[in-house]
Symmetry: D2
Subunit: 164 residues, 4 copies
């Protein structure tokens, strides 16, 4: 299931950096935490990002389900990278805040987060994110988030010494 | 620094279960994710909970600071367990939602989360949580959250088969 | 523009009270504040509600645009009544909380709020709401909200003495 | 009751404009909506603002209590003006977003909102706001909000033509 945003269908966002996908995937690869929890980035499109995390005992809360912190992490990251796809090559991105509702227990074998830009802006970008859990091959809506991102211009995401 | 809640000073909450601290610590110990990220519960009082996480590379975002997902995890857990201190022995707790603002980068050697109940309720409890980062021995306010918890009565947090 | 919810298209919600539209409109009519600010309910469907408010100087902030408080009021009400359409005849509804982002100034001649249920629940229902402003006949996305509602069973919305 | 913020006690904020109180009160006076609903600004201090609204039938929801939209309006305004006290004379302020929890019904004769800055920033300021209702002379905590404000530099709040 691919959800549409507030716009009903993915509006055609203008990309400022044609290499946005590489920029997103490179940034993701530098997040030690993503590797640690086994997260993979499974889709990057203008204004859209998808991340998946397979179940492991290390990611659980007290009932053995995906921990809310993992669900929030996924929501945060798909929203941040969805917004990041639309930024200039020389910008980095900052999560100002997000709000997340937990709709059903994180019980299942795979977590899928989908973030989409609702309104891009020069400084502030709004995203809505949804997290689903695959439980015995059935997808269930697990969490819904709304988040505010800030474009930090002239502050490249990649460390300078990593640049050729 | 111990922050006060909306009440200006920690109001005297009535505890329904005298064994609340054991109940909170047992539940925390069953969360595989807490062990995985090296989180420790450092204070449990009526309507209050504190958790600490030392820095590790595995917990970082792309700039090498604590990942927002870890900061959100801490906020979620201290709020949840602060509320849990005031519940009946036979209740479990559900995070309905939270909202978190990121106030400064998670750069430092230790993360400290402090959650406190603002208004306990039969069904719905409101908490405010603050996360601090210790950076070269100086404490900085890193994130501020407000969260809604739900009391699930007659649904014990501990698995039945673990009971004597 | 009719926005779809997280479900991509309005899923077929099951209505528990066939008289839901009358119940919603009656409740709306009892809100003194709606009459005071000139709000009209312009659509009521299962899991959906739309409200419109024409511009008046009395509804403005310091720059002469619709006040954020009015925009928030519209978001709150369309979300609340969207959820209310799916409840039993004997229930009333409580806004637990909402979060709203302001995307562009409330400058224009008409405010339109659209609320839709994302996930109905026995106790907790989640809605997403969007507010648009019509500015010289062009619709602009003005605010986006996400809200948590609670079903108060056996607590009818209408005062008992109004019943025949 | 005067609530303290996350800092436990009101930290000494540095004021950039010594005429901040006049600037806040002038801006408030230009909001047509505040006059319309009978709101009065009852305190303005560095990083702090208080607003009161007496009960009137025109401000009610379907049960005759203060409408959530009015409660949200108060929260929004006290937070915005608390942040505005700390800004430059040449800045205006923008509400990026807020989140509000409703803790008890708005039943009573007077609504009091109190907003305080938790963390001021060059661009982004965080406030926490609390709304109380006076019910038969007893104060009850009615709503709790957390909000994000943005400093719009070199964009004076007052219309240019109003300046001498």
């Amino acid at each position: 299931m691919r959800l549409s945003g507030a716009q009903g269908n993915m509006e055609q966002f203008k990309v400022k950096d044609p290499d946005f996908e590489k920029r997103v995937r490179d940034s993701f690869a530098r997040q030690g935490f993503m590797d640690f929890i086994g997260a993979q980035i499974t889709a990057v499109e203008p204004g859209y990002c998808e991340i998946q995390i397979p179940y492991r005992h290390e990611l659980t809360q007290q009932h053995g389900y995906f921990h809310a912190g993992i669900i929030g992490t996924v929501a945060d990251n798909v929203g941040g990278y969805a917004a990041f796809t639309l930024m200039e090559a020389t910008s980095s991105i900052l999560t100002v805040e997000y709000k997340i509702n937990f709709l059903s227990p994180g019980r299942g074998e795979l977590l899928i987060g989908r973030g989409r830009v609702i309104k891009p802006g020069k400084t502030i970008t709004l995203c809505r994110c949804d997290v689903f859990v695959i439980d015995n091959a059935v997808e269930r809506h697990c969490a819904a988030a709304q988040m505010t991102l800030m474009n930090m211009q002239n502050a490249p995401d990649a460390p300078q010494h990593m640049k050729p």
